[in-house]
């Protein structure tokens, strides 16, 4: 059993980290009252922008061993952040400044973002002219996957806690940070007020537009990092079109599952990661088809949580009150 956990937990964690990024990003966004269904697209864009950055950096060098480790990490990181930020700005411009419908804008962003990811992914693959339809960025990936040198000597402890690339810890730090920000700071209080009741926040002199922009763009950047983590760390630097799959939607499911609490999202994302790969650990010999049913678990669990929270009328567990609604001060 212990053996099993030592091998299972790290795999659940690496599955969970992209979800954790996406979920934290979406919670921060939703707390401002914006329901960003474009998160799956944003995560694709975050991933592909990082890939593009490191692709050109790696290819500009005659030999991967010449790579400057700092640049090797910074270039994809900055590209990813810029790409996700741009997506956030598009969403905010349409929904906040132009007051467009959030659901429609979000879905359009997902179409756009997934398309963008696959298009540039496909183009790069063509550029390389490789046999297999994927791009491999091993040198960059090795930088992202670097662990503490002594981690391996610590046995099971190292396995479970120290065997991950730095972005995994960044994800946890961001989630903890977001939790503290939302619950312990003035900014967090004001952000929650914007999402709950923008008219009230407005009357209190809070700049609604700025809060929505900043929260949504920050949320997009965080979610975009999830895409970057997925390619560079989880997938060993290999980009293949559609490989990211529906993890973006799973991240949105996770937001509901955690009842909008970034602190809860840390264990919850690992749990979801575990549910996502549970089928790999079912004793062999079972019907292959049953594994597909196991993949359903995260969604079913989310639905159950959604139903339970709505039946239990506890005010603190409800979605932000103005979630999905545009705000116009002079509406009348």
């Amino acid at each position: 059993m212990f053996e099993f956990l030592v091998s299972f937990i790290p795999r659940a964690v690496v599955q969970g980290i992209p979800l954790l990024f996406g979920c934290t990003g979406e919670i921060v966004t939703e707390k401002s009252g914006n329901l960003n269904l474009g998160i799956p697209g944003v995560m694709y864009v975050g991933g592909i922008c990082g890939v593009i950055g490191s692709f050109f950096y790696e290819n500009s060098l005659s030999d991967p061993s010449l790579m400057n480790p700092a640049l090797g990490i910074l270039i994809p990181l900055v590209c990813c952040i810029l790409g996700s930020l741009l997506m956030g700005l598009i969403y905010c411009f349409l929904t906040v400044t132009l007051r467009a419908n959030q659901n429609v804008t979000g879905l359009a962003m997902t179409t756009f973002g997934v398309g963008l990811g696959n298009f540039f992914g496909g183009s790069l693959i063509k550029l390389v002219g490789s046999e297999i339809p994927s791009i491999s960025l091993t040198a960059t990936s090795n930088l992202f996957r670097a662990t503490l040198p002594f981690a391996e000597s610590l046995g099971w402890f190292g396995q479970i806690f120290l065997s991950y690339g730095f972005l995994a810890y960044v994800a946890i730090i961001i989630a903890v940070g977001a939790s503290l920000l939302l619950n312990r700071t003035r900014v967090g209080l004001q952000l929650r007020a914007v999402g709950e009741n923008p008219a009230t926040a407005d009357a209190a002199g809070i700049n609604i537009t700025r809060y929505k922009y900043v929260a949504t763009c920050a949320g997009c950047i965080i979610a975009g990092l999830g895409g970057l983590y997925f390619v560079m760390d989880y997938a060993n630097g290999i980009w293949a079109n559609d490989a990211f799959g529906d993890r973006g939607w799973l991240a949105i499911a996770l937001v509901i599952f955690t009842v909008w609490r970034p602190g809860v999202s840390i264990p919850a994302s690992i749990l979801f990661g575990g549910l996502y790969i549970l089928h790999l650990f079912i004793p062999t010999g079972t019907d292959l088809a049953v594994k597909e049913l196991y993949k359903m678990l995260p969604y079913v669990v989310t639905i159950v949580v959604l139903v339970i929270t709505s039946t239990r009328n506890k005010r603190e567990n409800q979605p932000p009150e103005s979630l999905g609604l545009p705000y116009f001060r002079e509406n009348r």
Binding site: L35, L37, I90, F93, L94, T97, L98, R99, A100, N101, N103, V104, T105, L107, A108, M109, T110, T111, F112, G113, V114, G115, L116, G117, N118, F119, G121, G122, S123, K126, N241, D246, W249, L250, I252, A253, I256, D287, L288, A289, V290, E292, L293, K295, M296, Y299, V300, T302, I303, L306, V307, S310, T311, P319, G324, F328, E330, N331
Partner: protein, 364 residues
């Protein structure tokens, strides 16, 4: 200083002109982007797009069928949207319907005469789609459970159920797909009408469009669901059973989605995969919204999106680009159209006097 003011009513003609103008503008922008990305003459690119959609009778028919299928899903979602119920579960409901149709074809293909089989498939697929929509509707009606998120999750449950059966019904074993169902007997395939295999779907959806238009604008049900959408307390006040209307409307919405699933499986693909809905459940949300939930206008908006899709596909094959290029173009056009609505609803007022007094304030 800039202020935003709600417009007094804009004349319909002007509003339509603005919308049309922005679509043209968006197409130009897309052309420029394409030219930048490919180094091609944008006019040639558009030539290719039109070629891709209208280049041959077959291409026209394929486009028409695609428009019909997208329109069918959009029509399905519309009653729910008019009721302000955000049904984002079209994907799952279509899949549920397609799954039911495929199940009938596989399990009953050699047991029933074709007409009876088609009837059973019809009933099964609309029942499956309806069930898939009725579950979130029930919880919405009973506990006010957030329907946007619920229907979204239901999509993935449906996908996994289909994924399970794709493996169960794998044919040949080990291929990971079902393959063409009843390829020899063609049992459960929609009949060819008018000598064209695409014709029947187009006709069925055209009839459905008219029926939906009448239902929404002239029927008692259509009136009821509009009242529920606009003001649930007024609905209760006149004795409309809001819960019942929500569930009833979603059963209709899901049933038509299920029907679309059957058209896909029995009329077009003749197989079942997890991606058979191909994002139509989501694209349809945009189609319906662009048309302001008016079935007649939806014909146009679904045509526009499918034209972009097939046109971009043609660009991709002709110039060796990636198929996803179409998604990017569709995304850009949608951004433009979504943004335009603002300028139809609101007016921007620039006040210069304001600037002067603000400067003054700054100096103090």
């Amino acid at each position: 200083m800039i202020h935003v003011v709600k417009r007094k009513d804009m004349p319909l003609v002007q509003a339509l002109a603005i919308r049309f103008g922005i679509i043209v503008f968006a197409l130009v922008v897309c052309g420029v982007i394409t030219a930048l990305a490919t180094g091609l003459n944008p006019i040639a690119v558009y030539g290719t797009m039109i070629q891709g959609s209208f280049g041959s009778p077959r291409k026209v028919w394929i486009l028409l069928q695609q428009v019909a299928l997208l329109l069918c899903v959009s029509l399905a979602l519309t009653p729910a949207f008019r009721m302000k119920f955000w049904n984002l579960g079209g994907e799952g409901q279509v899949l549920a319907g397609g799954f039911a149709a495929a199940a009938c074809m596989i399990c009953l293909g050699d047991k029933l005469p074709n007409a009876a089989l088609l009837a059973v498939m019809f009933v099964a697929s609309i029942a499956a789609g309806a069930l898939w929509a009725a579950i979130p509707a029930f919880f919405k009606a009973k506990f006010n459970t957030n329907e946007t998120l619920f229907t979204l999750m239901m999509n993935y449950v449906a996908i996994q159920i289909v994924a399970y059966f794709v493996i169960v019904w794998e044919n040949p074993k080990g291929s990971g797909t079902i393959g063409i169902i009843n390829q020899k007997s063609e049992a459960g395939w929609l009949p060819v009408v008018g000598g064209n295999k695409y014709m029947l779907i187009v006709i069925l959806v055209a009839l459905l469009t008219i029926a939906m238009y009448v239902y929404l604008n002239y029927s008692k049900h259509g009136y009821e669901l509009a009242v529920v959408g606009e003001s649930p307390s007024t609905a209760r006040y006149v004795g409309i059973k809001v819960d019942r209307v929500i569930v009833r409307t979603l059963i209709l919405s899901g049933a038509i989605c299920g029907f679309a699933g059957m058209l896909l499986v029995a009329g077009s693909a003749h197989t079942l995969t997890t991606s058979i809905a191909a994002g139509r459940g989501f694209t349809a949300v945009m189609v319906a919204w662009l048309a302001k939930f008016n079935p007649a206008v939806m014909v146009g908006s679904s045509f526009l999106l499918e034209f972009m899709g097939s046109g971009a596909g043609e660009i991709a094959t002709t110039y060796g680009l990636n198929q996803s290029f179409g998604d990017i173009l569709a995304g850009i056009i949608l951004f433009f159209i979504i943004g335009t609505e603002f300028f139809i609803t609101y007016r921007i007022v620039f006040s210069k006097k304001q600037k002067a007094s603000e400067k003054e304030q700054g100096n103090v």
